[in-house]
Amino acid sequence: MSRITRSFAANYAHLHDVRQFVVECAEDAKLTAQLRDNLILAVDEATTNIISHASTVAPHDIVCSCEYDRQQFVCELSYRTEEFSVPTEPPSIEEIEERVRSFKRGGLGVFLMHQLVQHVSYEREGDRNIIRLTQTVQ
């Protein structure tokens, strides 16, 4: 299994760099275009949530790791913060449809993340929060 890790500043200006990193790993893993695009957006949404909600994220401290083989692609985002503060429970499709009909913005990113990959998990290890996005490849 291949594992590549890179650190990014906790700043929206670096979202493009995070996405580009996922592109490189996805292409190395020879994912289909659809799976690649889904992963890129899911990671973007997770990273955006980290930056917007975890106000105490240490700068230059979002560590993104992509681990993959022929069966599975896992992207892990970890960051140091005082507590687990990002939204973890996705709204239901009915809630999202109601929010869209009512032109309410909140919750779209978390919902998308859960729709785009097979499994999303949240853990805390020491002083770091870890979000794992897992997609079966075969």
Binding site: L15, R19, L41, D44, S52, I93, I96, L108, L112
Partner: protein
């Protein structure tokens, strides 16, 4: 007045329309949480300062969109429709449409294959 937004990662500009009462805005490159505020300011100026109420957003050159970009549309569509206007979406690449479809946007926003069809829909008052 901001005539266009043009930075390294995202662009939006007003392009000519077959009907001068309808504003066509062409989006390019990538719309995410970093570039969405610029897009929002640009749209707000068009709607509030320039009183543009019939807007067609041309997506054919947009490479990427996240929920932050969609949130900009949601934040302003109600205001536009409250004044008898609308924001129609046109020429969405398949992967962009896929994201909107996951969120149920086609139920709320009218989406057209081409910019001209969206313009004509305004003219026909559809």
């Amino acid at each position: 007045m901001t005539e266009s937004v043009n930075n390294q990662r995202f662009e939006v500009r007003e392009v000519s329309s077959s009907d001068p009462s309808i504003t066509v805005l062409e989006l390019s490159k990538q719309l995410d949480a970093h570039t969405a505020p610029d897009f929002e300011r640009f749209l707000e100026e068009r709607i509030r300062r320039d009183a543009k109420k019939k807007l067609v957003l041309d997506f054919h050159n947009l490479e990427y969109i996240s929920s932050a970009g969609l949130g900009v549309l949601m934040g302003l569509i109600e205001e536009v429709r409250a004044e008898d206007g609308d924001m129609k979406l046109a020429a969405l690449p398949e992967k962009i449409y896929h994201v909107l479809d996951l969120l149920g946007f086609p139920v709320v926003f009218k989406i057209y294959p081409t910019t001209e069809e969206a313009v004509q829909a305004f003219i026909a008052n559809k």
